[in-house]
Point group: C3
Chain length 441, copies 3
């Protein structure tokens, strides 16, 4: 069998013999026909580490689809196309911005400070890669980029059904290109918070709470949907258009979270690293399960019926809660941390309604509040200390609320961020997208 693919592979294998295959011992001791070449330890570790970023990266990329399904399922049918569009666009924008400014701002030259440097980032040349670096920077970029996109996904859910498309996209540009990378640099970029000993393994605060704070700032400035809150304190339910879509979205997110938390181990080239990743998979799954079950039981007790959206958000809150420290907790601790996440959702969703903060999909309880909880509780499992955790939570919250608030305010004052009352009543699909989600129904 002769074919180009094989020739190409053979070529690669030749490169491989230069890079990976090394003579094991002196030729004089080993006759040619018995010569065996061994794999270089540094090379093998590099390949495993990079593979971890690629697998983790595509799993977290898949979460963009999960958010899209969850949000399309939880908005009313007249706004579904818009929600799909926003989720596609924000993922695309996050990718471009995290290349253009985000990665450098978050990771290059932070050095204990408050941000990195500006400018696009260069990947390795074709055929490149430096084994002693431990992993490919292009794979790391991909993995970190999808985290950045996750942050933007959180915002789109809360502000659904009344925000205009273009101001939302401009906010996404700023969030993914500047705001998220700045607070990210404080910890994962080696900035001041990391020097203080703050602990946030996979981003309960750096990703989920940041998305939640940005969403909260937007919700406060944007206001609630028309008719949601009566002057008399009444709350009008606006049920989502498709529970199957929301359910599927949750399963996608649950799946993607194995990449989110597991690959945040950042290395897979040793026995202990891959074992830790396995432990993270188990803890992540169990915390999500506990969040779902605690919400399930609680809503049955309180409401006598089991609102499936609460169970969906309970599972997600369990996932967010364990994200700050998915490795260290024992299984009972992981179950407890996740279960509290589910409890938070059940109580916070109606509380937000009381405060007339209109969060269409429940992203603030799930991502902001469970994110705070998960970050606060890491010292229980020996990571960080409560004081530093609180400093980190407050500092990142304050920065993101203020900076997001300023951006939202500028957008409101210039181009406006809210659709007209007529457009809101008509639905964004007809008003801004021109394509209904389900035109025949």
């Amino acid at each position: 069998m002769t074919n180009l693919k094989m020739s190409k592979l053979a070529g690669a294998a030749t490169l491989g013999s230069l890079a990976l295959m090394l003579p094991a011992f002196g030729q004089d001791a080993a006759p040619a026909e018995e010569a065996v070449v061994f794999a270089s330890a540094v090379d093998v570790a590099y390949i495993f580490n990079t593979l971890l970023f690629l697998i983790g990266g595509f799993l977290v990329m898949w979460m963009a689809a999960g958010f899209a399904c969850l949000e399309m399922g939880l908005v009313r049918s007249k706004n579904v196309s818009m929600q799909g569009l926003k989720n596609i666009a924000l993922y695309a924008i996050a990718g471009i911005m995290f290349w253009l400014t985000g990665y450098s701002l978050m990771y290059v030259g932070v050095d204990g400070g408050f941000m990195g440097s500006f400018g696009p980032y260069n990947f390795e040349a074709v055929g490149g890669g430096d084994a002693s670096a431990g992993y490919s920077v292009a794979s790391d970029w991909f993995f970190q980029m999808v985290f950045c996109a996750t942050t933007a996904s959180i915002v789109s859910g809360t502000l659904a059904e009344r925000i205009k498309l273009w101001p939302f996209l401009i906010f996404t540009v700023v969030l993914t290109g500047i705001l998220y990378p700045i607070t990210g640099s404080w910890q994962w970029g080696g900035g001041w918070l990391s020097e203080m000993g703050f602990s946030d393994f996979a981003g309960s605060t750096l990703v989920h709470s940041v998305g939640g704070w940005a969403a909260l700032a937007g919700a406060l400035i944007l206001g609630a949907r028309k008719g949601k809150y009566g002057a008399d304190g009444s709350v009008t339910p606006m049920p989502g258009s498709s529970i199957p879509l929301a359910t599927l979205g949750m399963f996608i997110l649950w799946l993607g979270w194995f990449g989110f938390n597991g690959a945040s181990q950042l290395a897979m080239g040793t026995v202990s690293d891959v074992t830790d990743i396995s432990r993270i998979f188990a803890n992540t799954n169990l915390a999500a399960a506990a969040g779902a079950v605690s919400a399930l039981i609680l809503v049955q007790i309180i409401y006598k019926k089991v609102d499936v959206t609460m169970v969906i958000n309970g599972a997600l809150a369990g996932l967010v809660s364990i994200t700050a420290e998915p490795l260290a907790p024992s299984v009972p601790a992981a179950l407890l941390i996740g279960a509290v996440g589910g409890v938070i959702v059940v109580f916070a969703v109606p509380l937000l309604d009381k405060l007339k903060i209109d969060d269409v999909v429940g992203a603030i309880p799930v991502h902001l509040l469970a994110g705070i909880w998960g970050t606060f509780i890491t010292p229980l499992s020996g990571s960080g200390n409560y004081g530093t955790q609180i400093i980190g939570i407050v500092a990142i919250g304050a920065f993101t609320m203020i900076a997001s608030g300023i951006v939202w305010f500028i957008l409101k004052s210039t181009m406006g961020i809210r659709v007209s009352e007529e457009d809101e009543a008509l639905g964004l699909d007809k008003a801004e997208v021109g394509i209904e989600a389900y035109p025949e129904f």
Copy 2:
């Protein structure tokens, strides 16, 4: 570029150098600047094996979403939210129970007997992992746990549209925490069946038939949906609410099955293991294809139209059929085994209706009957012998039918397992969930 993630990675690499990197030969023979370290064979095999469990595990976890979509698509719209809820809840419960009792009962101290020991299972400590063990036990737990969850998913489809939520969940607790692990211990735990030479590579019987038997016991005790079967022998079709959801569910299951069968090779650290996994991928895909095509042709011949749900279940039956032995068959044998699975579905679905056994999604033909077929036929490819295969099929079937029947009977006698006629007519979404799946349609 200085950042915490890199420091962390550097730390990991240091650990790595202790574990993975070993001096290749004597320092005296190799000057310092030329010293090369080679990768430890045991460490590399451990990482590959563990990675196989993690990848296989997340693919099988994804099957939970596949079952959810398939079942939400095949129930009527008034019961869709409930079906989504049950699938989320059963996956969560399976995870908790398989940690609390399941894994130990199935794998610890079975020793040729009938069950293991009771109690939760401990994973490796943080930074742990013993290279000589061959793989991380946490990764194995994760992989085995998702198999356990699959069993529960099968039950929920058959009993849809009339079972109450809470008795179903209690049954799930017993099934995933006790029943599935006991029969699992007989074979995969090294129990009496494995000592007899029973053969079930990835679980045609241990997973799929067990789910099918538990569903059958439930269906018999629960009874058919109101109006399904007339006194005159007529059968009223109750078509599913969404063929796209069912189609998507099938594709998810097909994808997940590569993990189900492929990672059941249990090792990827050698040339022959990864080659066997490749062979399993090919055979699994071809058996599914043959099941779909045989069902497609057969329904065209018999009914002159191609019922897409038959083709969906034909593909799934092909997958179940090959699961007992996906490695040994030649391609023609794999095609035959899968094709017979498709045929079974086409004939068994109307047969069950004649017997007035109401299986909403066709899970009994797909998982129980094709599971029996696949297990029975493994000797064709040289695995096991027909006598032992029959003993295994009958023993596991008898145990699961009787034990499940007892549990269902107790639940029926105490809290009741069936919703009221009014609730059934109204739909479970309004009656028990309080949230309609598609409130605007």
Copy 3:
């Protein structure tokens, strides 16, 4: 803990020690308790390469679900079940045909010529695998098979809503078993085009344009849907039934494309290969993002509303465009290549309507035109030269158009390819499938 799975694993590990673990140096120099075995470089590379094909393969397999969702979402509700059925059936058929004839025809004995040999292909025996081959042929078969299936998926979208089931399936048999493998052999099989220096890294032409040409030939012979084009030149919009399904389909395709392009590196066993794969992931994501954003901006400018289906197809066109060379381009070049893909979609969709070529889902702009663009532009990044690229584009286009045209014509002249006007008006779901997609709505 004694269990069969562990025994089995232990067995595998023993095999492993034969294959992978080799004594590092003379026993005399190393006392038994200190003997360390190192991993064989050839074995480790083989495992990584094969794993790449398996991961890449399941990601591309998943694209079959993406096409199914995209197409089910973009047809009208009366034809949705049929579209799901066709996508299941074509994936199944592609698998069988690519084993029966396709793989040999494409890869065996092409030797600079125009096709390989006929006949089914044999995988390695159980427990087999030859480390010096570089990868498992079964894994390569799986990976190449899913590419073949992709080609058929493209055709089903264009011809939706009026083609009969069985002629479409017969065409699929010919396309996946004969036509696709022949043109594939010209390049990836080491045929005449590869000897000329044609460049098509992952198949902008070999997969996407081939599917597009076959679809175009079919669309011309089949004709437009009734009522689509008025005698007065008017075009009647026939909006798709579900934007969420189409959105989800796009995200699935985007995810699968990391396998499509990334694993087309064909090797992962060296530092440079895995680094190149990382670079491909980044470029693939950025080109898709640029395609989505360019379509987004352009439709806003032209139509003052943002048609979400244009953005979906813009992202897909970005992906197709970068597929001919996802490795070599710099990031700005990748962004440009993808952005032009998005522009092509925005202008080509209405152009096709002017030409009265009825392409239901926009597959011809996305796969054929963007595929031509991507293939033409590879010399910009240093791969191939413009003359040879044009020769390859034209040769493969001419062969596929003529051969597909002949097959479509024969099918039309014998069994007929188009449903009756009554069936078209009624919808294919009632007419041919007998199952409506959404019977309750």
